[in-house]
């Protein structure tokens, strides 16, 4: 039965235009940013590495596909919750508002399995969207700007050699996808409560926004609670490009995200199983 439910969810999601918005936006936006980075490489380098030119003689350019990818992920990662929650936000709420649950749930199927099938679809969508985001950016950046060493700031300027970079993008992908999955699960939980598919996105983005404020403002109280919030790990992908990689922090982030994910899913499970379908 779960197989049939998953196939149904696939058909529903694949036939909605909204599903493709995130992919289309990234498809158009990323090359434009890469072109802008390539065009303004000199200015960009003077801004980022300006003072270093006084101490070092830099031959060639530091701007390459890897730096471009690193910068684009850094720029867009805080916007990704908008895109990754598109499917999650309406996966329950639209069925409430359209009244389709009135027919779907009159079949002899367990609501827990319905929830599970939707959860699988949301997870696959989030994973695919993040994969597309990171690796489409990497491929297009590589094609436009070529390869080379990656210069990042970590305890000063850190140069990562060309053959030490690709696995770090995979790690960055895993770290950022973990946080994004938790964000999608929060949105899915809110979707089980709401008939309006915009409300879950607004609340999710508000939570991410408040979480970001907590992680950026250097107040003792905020610093104490930040490690326990999944939103505090939204930019943790940056640590994939540190040397050494802070594995301990990454594993803690996995633990925190898993805790919040389970929390959101248990709440969603309870709400959906008790929900009286009146619309």
């Amino acid at each position: 039965m779960i197989r049939s439910l998953i196939i149904n969810e696939f058909i529903k999601v694949l036939n909605k235009k909204r599903t493709y918005i995130g992919f289309i936006l990234l498809f158009i936006l990323v090359p434009l940013i890469i072109l802008a980075i390539g065009d303004g490489a000199e200015y960009l380098e003077s801004q980022i590495y300006g003072q270093l030119r006084d101490s070092f003689m830099i031959v060639g350019t530091l701007t390459n596909g890897y730096l471009s990818t690193y910068l684009i992920i850094g720029i867009l990662i805080t916007q990704m919750p908008f895109l990754s929650t598109i499917v999650a936000s309406e996966i329950f709420s639209r069925e409430y508002s359209d009244g389709t649950f009135r027919m779907y749930l009159t079949r002899p199927i367990s609501r827990s399995k319905v929830l599970l099938s939707k959860l699988i679809i949301v997870s696959i969508y989030t994973i695919l969207l993040m994969f597309f985001f990171v690796f489409y950016t990497l491929i297009i950046s590589y094609l436009f700007l070529g390869s080379g060493d990656l210069a990042v700031f970590h305890k000063g300027l850190l140069f990562l050699s060309e053959d030490d970079i690709i696995w770090r993008f995979f790690l960055a992908y895993i770290v950022s996808t973990t946080v994004m999955l938790t964000t999608s699960f929060l949105c899915l939980m809110l979707s089980t409560m709401s008939k309006n598919s915009v409300t879950p996105i607004i609340i999710t983005i508000s939570v991410v926004f408040i979480g970001s404020i907590i992680s950026f403002i250097p107040l003792q109280m905020f610093e104490n609670i930040n490690p326990y919030l999944f939103t505090g790990y939204l930019d943790l992908f940056l640590s994939s490009f540190h040397d050494p990689v802070p594995w301990n922090t990454i594993f803690i982030s996995f633990g925190v995200c898993t805790f919040w994910s389970l929390f959101f899913l248990i709440i969603a499970f309870i709400i959906f199983n008790r929900k009286e379908i009146l619309s």
Binding site: N8, I11, D98, G99, T100, L105, R107, P108, I277
Partner: protein, 294 residues
């Protein structure tokens, strides 16, 4: 539970907050009947249907489907087909894809889907998106959806709602066809004419209470019904019991509804006036259902 009964409802209660939506409802639905649940808006018809469909989970009482309680089991859903309120489909998908989605939940094959498109006369439009369907077409597609797993019992909430006269006739044809196929059909409606035209049995609800239920012929046509307006029903009831061939159907504080015990034996109006001392008026009712529904 009688052998010829498909559903039996005993002492059903449902509250939404402080609002008692269903209040001690008990009736049964005979097999192979077209059973009408008649009541004005807010009478509890849709709530009752949602309870059958397990869309509403918290309620008190007992519902037996083929002698088995539905409280802790979903098995009855395999034998029931539903349209609750208006039929709502995935509008961005074609009608066929919609039915395939529902068919997948009950392992129904494509052949059955094709048969149902024939039955509801939508074969030539099955590849159109549901968003392009008229309301009447959606209602017919709703019937096909409800019939996918070949249920014994169909529950249709206001099936004629929003249909034009042609659509109403088409719907009636489909329902009679289904009855001939041996299905039991339960429809809810607030239109007395629909019950009169289509139903064999009826239950009348008002403000969450069951007013009357039974076979429509018995309730409306075969017997004579009289309404007595009296000063005090309890005194009058004792006097009425002394009169032959009178059955007391229903009474309020100042009003009593009576009928013949046996068809063909008339009620002697003069005798009633003679025996009931505080009688104010005696009115012949043309239809029992009409009486209650008014």
């Amino acid at each position: 539970m009688k052998i010829d009964t498909i559903i039996e409802i005993n002492n059903l209660y449902k509250k939404f907050g402080d609002l008692q939506v269903l209040n001690n409802i008990s009736f049964s639905i005979p097999k192979n009947s077209i059973f009408g649940i008649l009541g004005p808006n807010g009478s509890g018809k849709s709530t009752l249907m949602r309870i059958f469909a397990k869309l509403i989970k918290n309620w008190n009482g007992e519902i037996l489907f083929k002698n088995n309680s539905i409280i802790n089991s979903d098995n009855h859903l395999m034998k029931m087909g539903f349209i609750i309120e208006s039929p709502s489909f995935y509008e961005y998908l074609s009608a066929e894809k919609n039915l395939q989605i529902f068919a997948r939940l009950t392992n129904t094959n494509q052949k059955k889907i094709d048969e149902l498109f024939e039955l509801v006369n939508l074969n030539d439009r099955k590849n159109s998106k549901v968003s392009e369907y008229s309301y009447g077409m959606k209602q017919r597609l709703g019937i096909a959806q409800a019939m996918l797993h070949n249920p014994d019992f169909l529950i249709l909430d206001e099936p004629n709602n929003g249909l034009d006269p042609v659509g109403i006739n088409q719907m009636a044809d489909i329902l009679f066809k289904l009855k001939q196929m041996g299905k039991t059909i339960c429809i809810s409606t607030h239109l007395l004419g629909e019950v009169d035209r289509m139903c064999t049995d009826v239950a009348i609800l008002n403000k969450g209470k069951l007013i009357v239920s039974g076979n429509l012929n018995e309730l409306t046509r075969k017997k004579l019904f009289y309404r007595l307006e009296v000063n005090n029903s309890s005194t009058a009831l004792n006097d009425l019991k002394k009169i032959k061939n009178i059955e007391i159907i229903y009474y309020l504080e100042n009003s009593i509804l009576i009928s013949q015990k046996k068809e063909g034996e008339p009620i002697e109006e003069n005798l009633i006036f003679k025996k009931i001392k505080d009688i104010k008026s005696l009115t012949r009712e043309s239809s029992l259902v009409e009486y209650f529904y008014d």
